[in-house]
């Protein structure tokens, strides 16, 4: 049914359609509206046989989810930013125990300095946590991906983070097609865990594993990740057939045929970029977009095929690695190893700095003019703000426009 609603309400409705047994909530912007709505559904009886727990911290939220999933219930929670970091210890515990929890990360920058706006530094900080990480480009994608996430998690035996951009998606009102309960009941049968805590068949879960078997435990976890690549595609195909949706998948290509340049983007920026790419096409500039949906597991093979024989790729990244470089770019380089494809990072949109059509336009023209000469570029950095500090403090000034990593490094040598 089509409705013009807030993204968070859409996600809450999607979660309710999946009939979770336990939902726990701790408030942190910008995920609050999702759990508020789920709590309301439980209280009105719209979502039956579900326990909604208001807990005292994100650490307890993930821990309640761990207990609930170990107890054999379909389990959901949501968080963002600092909350995700406060959960971190439990994040690893949940994946190590193989618990199919589904959690929304309403992506938001990590402090300090404290910042409530959207970037991807929170979800990407948990890159190596053993969770699947699925990114959403629109609210419709978020609605559908949440529903698919339960099925994927339960098939694979690993938890899933559904990463949707904070505020940009969570608080945006858009037309959403929410599937019917009948459709979802057909798609997602009641959860029957392979193993859970029951007095009928007692098991011990979470034993201490020493050097004699720890590597093998990790190997088997990685094997689940490999399996997940296939499961994501299968579940996506099934869901699309059932609902007619275009959501999900490992990655999606837009205008990729014979493109001179491809942009790899995760999240809501894909929508902005698509519009701009359409405009550029009228100017005769042919740019493709690869919307990266599954960051973990990373679809190396699908990425290689999506890039094809395109010679230039820019990864638009909304987070980076301090003391290192980009986070997506090295993965794409691995996918393209042995080719002469030129792959670069353009960092932008940190802490909620808006990425406009003009940003995309400038990025494309910068790329096609051969100006991305370094692996890592601060694309939307404001040198006026920088200079207001560095000029007085250290006598250093930066020129206007995008700054390459070498300009940052050189400025330290002169200081």
């Amino acid at each position: 049914m089509l409705r013009q609603i807030e993204g968070s309400l859409g996600v809450a409705q999607a979660v309710a359609l999946c009939r979770p047994g336990v939902v726990c909530a701790y408030p942190i912007s910008p995920q609050t509206h999702i759990v508020e709505n789920v709590g309301k559904f439980v209280k009105t009886g719209a979502l039956k046989d579900c326990d909604f727990l208001n807990v005292e911290s994100e650490f307890s939220a993930i821990s309640v989810a761990i207990g609930s999933a170990a107890g054999g219930c379909r389990t959901y929670t949501a968080t963002a930013s600092q909350g995700l970091l406060y959960m971190a210890e439990g994040i690893y515990s949940a994946s190590g125990l193989g618990l199919p929890i589904v959690m929304t990360v309403a992506s938001r920058a990590i402090g300090g300095p404290i910042n409530i706006w959207n970037d991807h530094s929170d979800s990407l900080s948990q890159r190596d946590s053993g969770w699947l990480q699925l990114f959403c480009e629109s609210n419709q994608d978020a609605v559908d991906t949440h529903i698919m996430a339960f099925k994927i998690a339960e098939k694979v035996g690993l938890p899933v983070m559904v990463c949707m951009d904070g505020f940009v998606l969570t608080h945006a009102f858009e037309r959403l097609d929410i599937p019917s309960q009948e459709q979802i009941d057909e798609f997602l049968p009641p959860y029957e865990p392979r193993e859970y805590l029951t007095t009928k068949e007692p098991v011990s879960i979470g034993a201490m594993v020493g050097p004699e078997a720890f590597t093998e435990v990790r190997f088997l976890q990685q094997r689940k990740m490999a399996k997940a690549l296939k499961v994501i595609e299968e579940v996506t195909a099934e869901y699309r057939k059932l609902t007619g949706s275009k959501s999900g998948g490992l990655l999606e290509c837009y205008n990729c045929e014979n493109a001179d340049l491809k942009l790899i983007i995760m999240g809501s920026t894909v929508g902005t970029a698509k519009d701009e790419i359409d405009r550029l096409k009228k100017e005769g500039i042919n740019v493709g977009i690869i919307s990266l949906k599954s960051f973990r597991p990373f679809p190396y093979e699908a990425m290689r095929q999506a890039i094809g024989d395109t010679k230039q790729v820019i990864c638009l990244e909304r987070a980076f690695s301090f003391g290192g470089r980009g986070i997506i770019c090295p993965e794409v380089k691995r996918a393209m190893e042995g080719t002469n494809c030129d792959i670069k990072t353009a960092v932008c949109g940190l802490g909620g700095r808006a990425i406009y059509g003009t940003t995309i336009n400038a990025m494309v023209k910068h790329a096609l003019a051969g100006k991305f000469t370094e692996e890592f570029t601060w694309f939307d950095v404001d040198s006026n703000v920088l200079n207001s500090y560095t000029k007085n403090a250290e006598g250093v000034t930066f020129p206007e426009g995008p700054l390459g990593a070498s300009q940052l490094e050189a400025s330290v040598k002169h200081a």
Binding site: V22, V55, G67, S68, I205, G210
Partner: protein, 353 residues
Amino acid sequence: MLDKINFYQTGSNTVGNRLLNPAMRSIQASVDRPNSLISGHRACQGCGEALGARYAIDAAMRATNGQIMVVNATGCLEVFSTPYPESAWRLPWVHSLFGNTAAVGSGLAAAAKIRAMKNGDTNVPRIIAQGGDGGTTDIGFGPLSGMFERNDDVLYICYDNEAYMNTGVQRSSATPPAARTATTQLVGEHPGADWGRGKSVPLIAMAHGIPYVATATVADLRDLEAKVTRAMSFHGARYIQVLVPCPLGWGLKSNSTVTVARAAMESGFFPVFEAEYGKITSVRKIRQKQPVLNFLKMQRRYAHLTGKKADPNVVARLQALCDTNIKNFGLLGDDEPNGVPTAIQAYERSNRV
């Protein structure tokens, strides 16, 4: 006719099981005891925690007809009972982290309830969350308080051995004053743990107004069994703190675990009581009062208080601490305490002990 029998065997002050009728005998004395924590685990000789856990969990199993699921904090109990691929637990058991045990218990209780509801099953398994004092009074304290205030249907058992034993005997907020630990060493002007630190989690639990709070020791295992049984008669959040001496951490002979626990109880060092809905309902009276020195002299963590260089003022302060407990909790005489006692740390901080 029971009141005519002398329950306490001469000298030992333990109840003779064979003198009781079968219904009153210890669960551990039964041939069909649940054996929830079975032999073969890797606890040290004389481990108070293994002893306490075996009695507590078996009592809960008996009280619920075997419907118990356990969440275990990281710590000695977890490590010695479940080295992969072995497990000493003969019931559903899960370990996640050090500090999240109460919250995992909340989640498991919710799942047990919902699963039973969805399956139309009237039999809902009950949940026990358990951990040591570090996992309870320190790192797990936030989730514990959250579980209490939500009144989640979980019994939390803290096996209190007054320090972080699994990591090598470091001080916790349950470590008593003047005790030696690896982080409160016997050096400097004030050897051992500082005075005026720490907290009383049983009293804090009572302040949450939860249905049931109790303390117990492994010196009175029948009392521990009775308290666990009582706890299982309530629904909602419940808390039991059991004093479980640690031969390694306290510097005890491994055959004196129970003796030293008894000295802690009989000296007033560790008050044993129970409370319902925030009010004390019973106090385990001291039977044969002992000076605190009897408790101290069995332990190397207090060796500096009993040797030639001992500071008598510190022993006197510890005795005053015990005397204050005796007065506050009414551990001697027939009276029950009037109102909620003040945490002993308050007296330490105000220099009244």
